[in-house]
């Protein structure tokens, strides 16, 4: 019972914040709402028992990606009080597309029979921390992706620095 209330509360916050984020006329406010939406998602993760994922959701998504976004917003000239319409002329098609896709997924989900596995799987009281499982998996079954991630990060770092520093040289 209490879980359901909490679920709806978090889901409500998430969706509300996501809506505001998409509709807000001010890009900075959008970023703040995005942070709120991500926080809601993190809470949902925690509800599912994935505390580690919730933690890194906060750490990486809010603490890093959103901060990076806000940095970029700050580094571009965004004038306070200047409410620019952030929405282009594609509103109607967008609504249709998004509604259609959402309905499609929801229909599919509702029609699907998830089988017997669900009933026995999550005994909600036994939400154990699975950081150790993740670690073990990373070092055994997922060791190749694990190493590839570092290459990906290196590539991103080098790429971004190259873009930025090319820009710097162009300035001179």
């Amino acid at each position: 019972m209490i879980e359901l209330i909490l679920f709806y509360a978090f889901a409500g916050v998430t969706i509300f914040a996501a809506m505001l984020m998409v509709l807000s006329r001010n890009i900075f406010h959008s970023a703040l709402f995005l942070a709120l939406a991500l926080l809601g998602v993190a809470a949902l993760f925690a509800m599912m028992g994935s505390f580690f994922i919730a933690g890194i959701q906060v750490l990486l998504y809010i603490g890093a990606v959103v901060v990076l976004t806000i940095f970029v917003i700050n580094l571009t000239k965004q004038v306070i009080g200047q409410d620019v319409s952030q929405v282009n002329e594609l509103v109607l098609p967008a609504i249709i597309t998004s509604l259609l896709s959402a309905c499609l997924i929801i229909l599919a989900v509702l029609k699907t029979d998830w089988g017997t596995r669900i009933a026995q799987s999550v005994a909600q009281s036994e939400l154990t921390d699975n950081t150790a499982i993740i670690g073990r998996q990373l070092l055994t079954n997922f060791v190749i992706p694990f190493e590839i991630v570092s290459v990906l990060l290196l590539a991103a770092l080098i790429g971004a620095i190259a873009i930025v520093s090319r820009d710097k040289e162009a300035d001179k």
């Binding site: 306070i80 950081t131 991103a156 710097k168």
Partner: protein, 117 residues
């Protein structure tokens, strides 16, 4: 239970801040004037807009932060299971992982991105 406490905590923090400001608003003397609500800039009229375009350097540091934060996050589960795993494989795998990222740091260092100019 534990995360419930977190919720209560956040609720408390919100009540604390909002309550403080509300009490402040109830008690404060209020005397508006035009000059009071102007932006402070050492006592003179602000020159130009405050929304300035600031140094690109900050972006470099922020992006490096993102990359290294992701790295640290990958190391966390490793650190948790490290003692419980036998063999040298975990160590070697992680050393490779760290090495590749140190390359990134070295690249940035070499490129002079860590230096401010």
């Amino acid at each position: 239970m534990a995360y419930g406490t977190l919720l209560v905590f956040i609720g408390f923090a919100v009540v604390f801040v909002v309550g403080g400001v509300v009490v402040n608003y109830l008690l404060m003397p209020y005397k508006p004037s035009v000059a009071k609500y102007t932006t402070y800039e050492c006592g003179i009229d602000p020159i130009g807009n405050a929304q300035i375009r600031y140094s690109m350097r900050f972006y470099v540091f922020a992006l490096m932060y993102v990359v290294f934060a992701v790295e640290a996050v990958f190391l966390l589960p490793w650190a948790v299971v490290y003692r419980r795993m036998t063999g040298l494989m975990p160590l070697i795998e992680v050393l490779i992982f760290i090495f590749i990222l140190v390359l990134g740091l070295a690249f940035a260092w070499k490129k002079g991105e860590l230096k401010w100019d």
